[in-house]
Amino acid sequence: MEIPYTVEAHPETGLNNGKIGIWLFLTSEVMLFGALFATFIMLRLGSDGNWAAMQAEAELNIPLATLNTAVLIASSLTMVMAWASLMRGQLGRFKLFGWLTVACGGVFLVIKYFEYTAKFEHHHYPESSTFLAIYFAMTGLHALHVIGGMAWNAYFTGPGSKLFHTNRQWLTDRVEHSGLFWHFVDLVWIFLFPVFYLL
């Protein structure tokens, strides 16, 4: 049995099911990270002015985080290029940019790994202060999202790309939807970076 509007757009909404689904999912993600940012605000306001001291003690690595920001922004660019290549029907270029996107995610995680281990070497653990606790909670959850987005993209770039030969439109839509998620994950980092490292 075929579900209507899986590929073709609904005449009234102008969207297919997947597009609506991914946007709804992203609204729930906004609420998830929104609650964590609200937690951040509550902890900071309730810290009796100790926040700056806790932040200084944590010694977050601003140059590495800046590099990571650049890596993620680059991956958003390659994500769009991958989708645009599919729109033009260029499977080879799609695969190139798709794997580049996954690779950027990998580079981000490797840098994040070095950041985390540097913290642990200095005995900065989540239990050390509420600043480090919310730092590890939010960046950790964000890293899980990066892993999820990488898996999603890797599937469509690898085995899922067979769909190109049978239903190109469907594959293009799916890549667009995974791209929306990827951009969202990117956007979360754009908020995390100043909140933890710069403010």
């Binding site: 049995m1 075929e2 579900i3 209507p4 509007y5 609904h10 909404t13 969207l15 297919n16 099911n17 609506i20 689904g21 709804l24 999912f25 609204t27 729930s28 993600e29 609420m31 998830l32 990270f33 929104g34 609650a35 964590l36 609200a38 937690t39 509550m42 902890l43 309730g46 810290s47 100790n50 653990y125 989540p126 239990e127 050390s128 202060s129 509420t130 606790a133 919310i134 590890f136 909670a137 959850l141």
Partner: protein
Amino acid sequence: MAEPVHASPAHDEHHHEQSFWRKYIFSTDHKVIGVQYSVTGLAFLLFGFVLMMVMRWNLAYPGEPIPFIGSLLGENRAPGGIMLPDFYNELGAMHGTIMVFLGVVPLAVGGFGNFVMPLQLGAPDMAFPRINMISYWCLFLGGVTMFASFFLPNGAAGNGWTSYSPLADIALNGQTAWLIGMIFLITSSLLGAVNFITTAIQLRAPGMTWMRLPFFCWAQIVTAFLLLLAFPPLEAAGVLQLMDRVANTSFFIPEGLVVGGEVVDRSGGGSPLLWQHLFWFLAHPEVYVLILPAMGIVAEVIANNSRKPLWGYRSMVYSLIFLGFMSFIVWAHHMFITGMGSVMSTFFQTTTMIISIPSVIILSALFISLWGGSIRYNTPMLFALGFLPMFGIGGLTGLPLGLSAADIPLHDTYYVIGHFHYVVAPGTLFALFAGVYYWFPKVTGRKMNEFLGKLHFWPSLVFMNGVFFPMMIQGLNGVSRRLADGGITYDFAGEVAGLNRMMSVSAWCLAVAQIPFIINFFMSIRNGEKAGRNPWNSTTVEWLAPSPAPHGNFDQPIEVVRGPYEYSVPGSDKDYVPQAEPAST
């Protein structure tokens, strides 16, 4: 039928022939998933009820050995059959959690929403059938986790269904299992919510405009939005509490917390109030998740059995949407006694008074819908009619709790328990029973037995009130709702402490009153009176499908031409005109 179909060239022509596992276990058909959800929900409702019946023993006969099962509970729960207070706490916490997250929500949203809504929309299935399947199995894993936590060395979570920190942060292992279970349940609800909304937007049959949607579908849509937007903050809070427990962080632990006479070795700096805010930001909308689908079911049953259109359909729909919106800004009325300040209290008691208006509009519209109808008193209708005054009592007793001044003396008493249970037990549960009796023919092709149905309804109505009304009396006398012995050690409980026995006996009788339902349920699957497509002479689209409906639902194209409740239309040859029946020329 249990034999898997072997792949062979001969079977290639039969695309729809699926193995047993694909057809009944890992099915992507919304109807099968709806039944899976419903059966799981009903089973957990029974289990949660059993937990409460054991608790009620200790409330009525504190310090006396529990009969029959006391010796089976083990020395660490009930030495010599006498319940320990810690075990009472476990039962209380798990009763709340199971009833809300594993009983009512799976049945009302996962079960009825999944089964009925696509049929009412005229859709062949949900928009994302595989996500639908995953959503059920997440719920199942969450249920298994919760159930298994009883067998941990230190027992299940015992910190209330609200799991307030810092108590829950420093409690024993059960709480960790609770949090892991909740993360499964939340994931399940999120996936379901995305699916429901997308289905309602995209898969309505031609002609099914928004204002032709049955009220039940509207209730499910608003509910799905509540789940979608309110659950993630609890997921965040759950992750943070899990970190507090396993990574020794201090999100919810203030500085200098003393436990057992010693200062806890944590960095501190966290806020117990933060947990309450995050929890109630979910849990207040959650209350509407429990009640809105119930209102939807009652609206369908009442329109059908009063043979009249719903009175004020549009205002009901607008009230529903307003209710959904407002439910996000009333959460802190659960926190009046936390000392968050009178400015906050004023804001939240104002929004709370405002949110009562749409609820009253919906309830009034349902009452007025009865006026002048030729009412059929069948079992679904009896339960729907029972819902109206019971929910009315529940709602009206909530008003004093919404005003911060009145809430302060009432908050920690049985009055709150009585209020909430009137909303959810004889309220929502009666509506859910109405739904089971009403849609049973669509699921199985057979009706449930009317006599057994009435034998289920009347005692249930009496004993429900027998359980919950005395709680109001006790609460107004100031009996605390957190005492394992029912308050007999306190002088002020004095004369009302005796009501505990009445409530407990009522609860056990209520259990006996469910036996006709259980017999009826299983007996009717095979031996019930055969029902055609439309046994209730109903107008909505689900009754145009065969009973039981095949994969893909409809055997004819559906084109909706009129509103959902065209009953007793003057000049029509029968007293109902189905939504998708072409206009007679």
